[in-house]
């Protein structure tokens, strides 16, 4: 069974069509990258899967279960985690508190009003492990606002991984990063277990080709092509409208 099936999805802002009859399937464990020019509707697509944006028609099916139109919190609890194109953290809280909030949602008891959260050793251990995973060892006490841009993006992923999702949605995880930071991010994504499926938006072609099993090209809300990285590189239409621009 596929982890995600998108069927004839449509979405628009007023007259502006941002998702135009999009159908897409992602197999379990697949790394799928969406590319496309700015304004192609990539973020909008992720927002519909995450529940942040309502589709006009079509279906979003998660492991065979129709989740179209569900609230973001519900989608999240069904095993879909995401990051945002713009860093979207708890900027005034520490790295540790950021992660603990995410962990509490899945493994803690958020309605507990009596035990002291800071003394929860189990969650603290989980958080420490997450920090290692996203290369933020020993940074737990820092306020998220004071992290460098690249570190903030790593924390974004840490928060997303906290709930042990089945499907991870990444919206331009390397945007605005230095080459060194980008390399670290590729390592980080490469080290994710294959039990986790990844759908990711990316602009940087070296990242795309080092990560992707399959690539989808989105252009003005429509799918232009889907295939292996090699297929996409060889596709004349794609070269014309997209890859041509990048070079």
């Amino acid at each position: 069974m596929n982890i995600l099936d998108i069927e004839h999805l449509n979405c628009a802002f007023g007259n502006l069509i941002v998702t135009d009859d999009v159908s897409l399937s992602i197999a379990e464990g697949e790394r799928h990258v969406i590319i496309g020019p700015n304004g192609a509707g990539k973020t909008s697509l992720i927002n519909q899967i995450g529940g942040q944006l309502r589709s006009k028609s079509g279906r979003i099916v998660l492991e065979g279960r129709d989740v179209t139109g569900q609230a973001p919190s519900r989608i999240s609890r069904l095993g879909v985690a995401r990051t945002f194109q713009r860093n979207n953290l708890f900027h005034n809280l520490t790295v540790f508190e950021n992660l603990r909030l995410a962990l509490t949602a899945k493994f803690g008891n958020p309605l507990d009003f009596f035990s002291v959260a800071a003394r929860d050793q189990v969650l603290a251990a989980h958080a420490a492990e997450l920090m290692r995973k996203v290369h933020l060892d020993g940074q737990g006490a820092r306020i998220a606002r004071t992290l460098s841009y690249g570190e903030q993006r790593q924390l974004e992923i840490g928060i997303a991984l906290a709930g042990k999702p089945k499907l991870l949605l990444l919206d331009e995880p390397t945007s605005g990063m230095s080459p060194a930071e980008t390399a670290r991010m590729i390592d980080l994504i490469g080290a994710l277990p294959r039990s986790l499926s990844v759908l990711m938006i990316e602009h940087d072609m070296t990242v795309v080709f080092s990560v992707a099993d399959r690539v989808t090209v989105l252009y003005y809300g429509k799918i232009l092509a889907t295939g292996t990285p090699a297929d996409i590189q060889a596709n004349a239409r794609v070269r014309e409208v997209y890859l041509g621009m990048a070079h």
């Binding site: 973001p72 919190s73 999240s76 945002f84 979207n88 005034n92 995410a102």
Partner: protein, 611 residues
């Protein structure tokens, strides 16, 4: 039939006056993302300045032109000197500042013109009546309707057809623009603010001959204008127009045919609109301004903080023995309001929800004790338990509607709902005693000790205060408290990591309501008396001020704020008639010079000193 037409016209008159208020409020909100509680004050000042001008010049028409200009000038000075430095700080400070100004302006009007109801003379040529076929009608009122519609058309032309209008609409469409205050935008803001204030002043003069002039007319027009904006939609001129006429007509017909349930119908209409279209009939969904930077989660207690706490507690226990009755009673009152303020802080500081209707839950708790005691002879402590339950239930119900919104709409909704509770307390005289209030027959005893002894009262209130403090402290350190803080910091992110945020906000609102109910019940036990004043919106404003004065987002701040507020009120009111102005000025200074409140500033100083 004749009566029906007359009611309709009266409704239009009221609607037109509401529109002059609501249009300015809505513009200021839509463009600047600022909510000005002083807008009603400008309406009132317009009316009184109009009266002064009529008395000097003898001409209503000169007053109709000059008074709004004078008020606009005042508004511009206020915007440039006081409001402008606060744009970067978020809503809470703006609300506190403009609330401070309502005190000052109220005191000013009361001092200059007294408390009696005055009337602006109707201009000579409009003194007669006109036969409009379906009956005779006051010429002035007909003129008002025409005048209001003409202003509406002019406003529409200005917004739709002019360059300035295009800039304004661009601002409404793009709230982010407001963040990067360029030079032109600062000028535009000042212009819009002055313009909105002028409209309010114009409304005040125009209302003078029909509504009468009195201190307090500011609130009487502000609250319905808020309801208009909630129904019509924020930042929409069309919404302000349609909403004003709807409310104006509904209110007039309601009062004529349904008497006391009229208010309920209006709130019911408001609730229905908000359920179907949370952004109001014509409002646009807009991105809310980021919450102002309140304190982060508190570090859990250490040995040192616990030792300090114990020392403070010891002082509080020893303190009353050296004091006479009066200060003991005052401190007992402070404890009660400290509980109230801490409960507000749970939603305000820790969950990022700014309520201007928290007195409703205080009132539910208070009336439960009073009504059960007086009408049913029930013991006050049973009443207190019932009051907490009633306040929690009320908060759950009201919160169900309110938590769907945030920011300013939340503020307006909580305000409107609390006015609903107020109107029940006011109108249901048989049960509540209305504005005359009701008194407990006898002071209850506390574990066998009579609360008529000030020392017993002191320790009873201290006990509840300490219990509330420790309970809230525990809650805030617990996972649930951290969830509240997470929602305050970044609600969409909380939703994306799996928290149904509406449900959690409702939980916070309900707990806060229950604790406010506890404070209200204690207040009746303490005071032996309750009247509808305790539920009036200014009571909600007072508690908001106490909380922010002390420092929202901390648990120590609200008790400090309650103490400072009540001490200041007692001292100022015993030494000067102008205590309202003194308190108002104090708040204005506090907002300007102590962002984050007293405790927030102390923490900041300590933070600077520490590393």
């Amino acid at each position: 039939m004749e009566l029906l037409v007359a009611q309709l016209l009266n409704g239009l008159v009221y609607g037109v006056l509401l529109f002059l208020m609501a249009a300015g409020l809505s513009l200021i909100f839509g463009l600047m993302n600022v909510v000005s509680l002083a807008h009603g004050s400008f309406f009132m000042l317009g009316a009184f300045l109009g009266l002064a001008i009529v008395q000097v010049t003898g001409s209503f028409w000169i007053a109709l032109v000059l008074a709004p200009l004078a008020v606009a000038l005042l508004g511009i000075v206020m915007e440039v000197l006081f409001l402008r430095p606060l744009y970067a700080r978020g809503h809470m400070d703006q609300v506190l500042l403009t609330f401070g100004f309502t005190f000052v302006f109220y005191d000013l009007v009361q001092t200059v013109w007294g408390r009696i109801v005055l009337r602006l003379p109707t201009p000579a040529i409009l003194q007669g009546t006109v036969d409009i076929g379906a009956g005779v009608f006051s010429a002035y009122r007909l003129f008002l309707i025409g005048f209001g519609f003409a202003i509406a058309v002019l406003l529409w032309l200005l917004l739709e057809r002019s360059r300035i209008g295009a800039m304004v609409r661009a601002g409404v469409d793009n709230a982010a623009m407001a963040a990067g205050l360029g030079g032109n935008i600062a000028l535009l803001f000042t212009g819009i603010f002055g313009f909105g204030v002028a409209l309010a002043g114009l409304g005040g003069v125009a209302a003078g001959p029909t509504l009468g002039l009195y201190p307090g007319m500011d609130t009487d027009i502000l609250i319905p204008a808020f309801i208009v904006i909630v129904i019509g939609g924020m930042g929409s001129l069309r919404g302000a127009f349609v909403g004003s006429l709807l409310i104006g007509i509904a209110d007039t017909f309601g009062k004529a045919y349904l008497q006391s349930i009229a208010l309920f119908l209006i709130y019911l209409a408001m609730t229905v609109v908000l359920l179907i279209r949370p952004q109001g009939l014509f409002g646009i969904r807009y991105a809310d301004a980021p919450p102002s930077a309140v304190a982060r989660t508190m570090p859990p207690s250490t040995k040192a903080t616990r030792a300090v706490g114990l020392i403070v507690l010891a002082v509080l226990i020893v303190l009353p023995f050296g004091l006479p009755d009066y200060p003991r009673a005052l401190i007992a009152e402070i404890y009660i309001f400290a509980i109230f303020a801490m409960s507000l802080d749970l939603i305000l500081g820790f969950s990022g929800l700014m309520s201007l209707g928290h007195a409703a839950f205080f009132g539910l708790g208070a009336y439960a004790v009073a009504v059960l005691g007086v009408q049913f002879g029930l013991d006050a402590w049973i009443g207190l338990a019932a009051g907490v339950a009633l306040a929690a239930a009320g908060a759950a119900l009201i919160g169900f509607f309110c938590v769907r919104t945030g920011g300013i709409p939340f503020l307006m909704l909580t305000l409107a709902f609390s006015q609903l509770v107020f109107s029940v307390a006011l109108k249901w005289r048989d049960v509540t005693g209305g504005s005359d209030g009701m008194a407990l027959a006898e002071q209850p005893s506390f574990f066998g000790f009579s609360l008529s002894h000030s020392l017993v009262m002191y320790f009873m209130t201290l006990m509840f205060f300490v219990a509330a403090y420790l309970g809230l402290r525990r809650l805030i350190d617990a996972p649930l408290g951290h969830v509240f803080v997470g929602i305050r910091e970044n609600e969409p992110r909380m939703a994306a990591i799996g928290y149904p945020t509406l449900a959690y906000k409702l939980v916070a609102f309900t707990i806060a309501g229950a604790i406010a109910g506890l404070a209200g019940g204690l207040y009746v036990i303490y005071n032996g008396f309750i009247s509808s004043d305790a539920v009036y919106w200014t009571a909600s404003g007072d508690i908001l001020i106490m909380t922010m004065l002390g420092g929202a987002g901390t648990l120590i701040g609200p008790p400090i704020g309650a103490a400072v507020f009540l001490l200041m009120k007692n001292v100022a009111s015993s030494y000067s008639e102008h205590w309202l102005a003194i308190i108002g000025t104090a708040f204005i200074c506090c907002v300007l010079f102590f962002p984050g409140g007293i405790w927030g500033s102390v923490q900041k100083l300590r933070g600077k000193a520490a590393p």
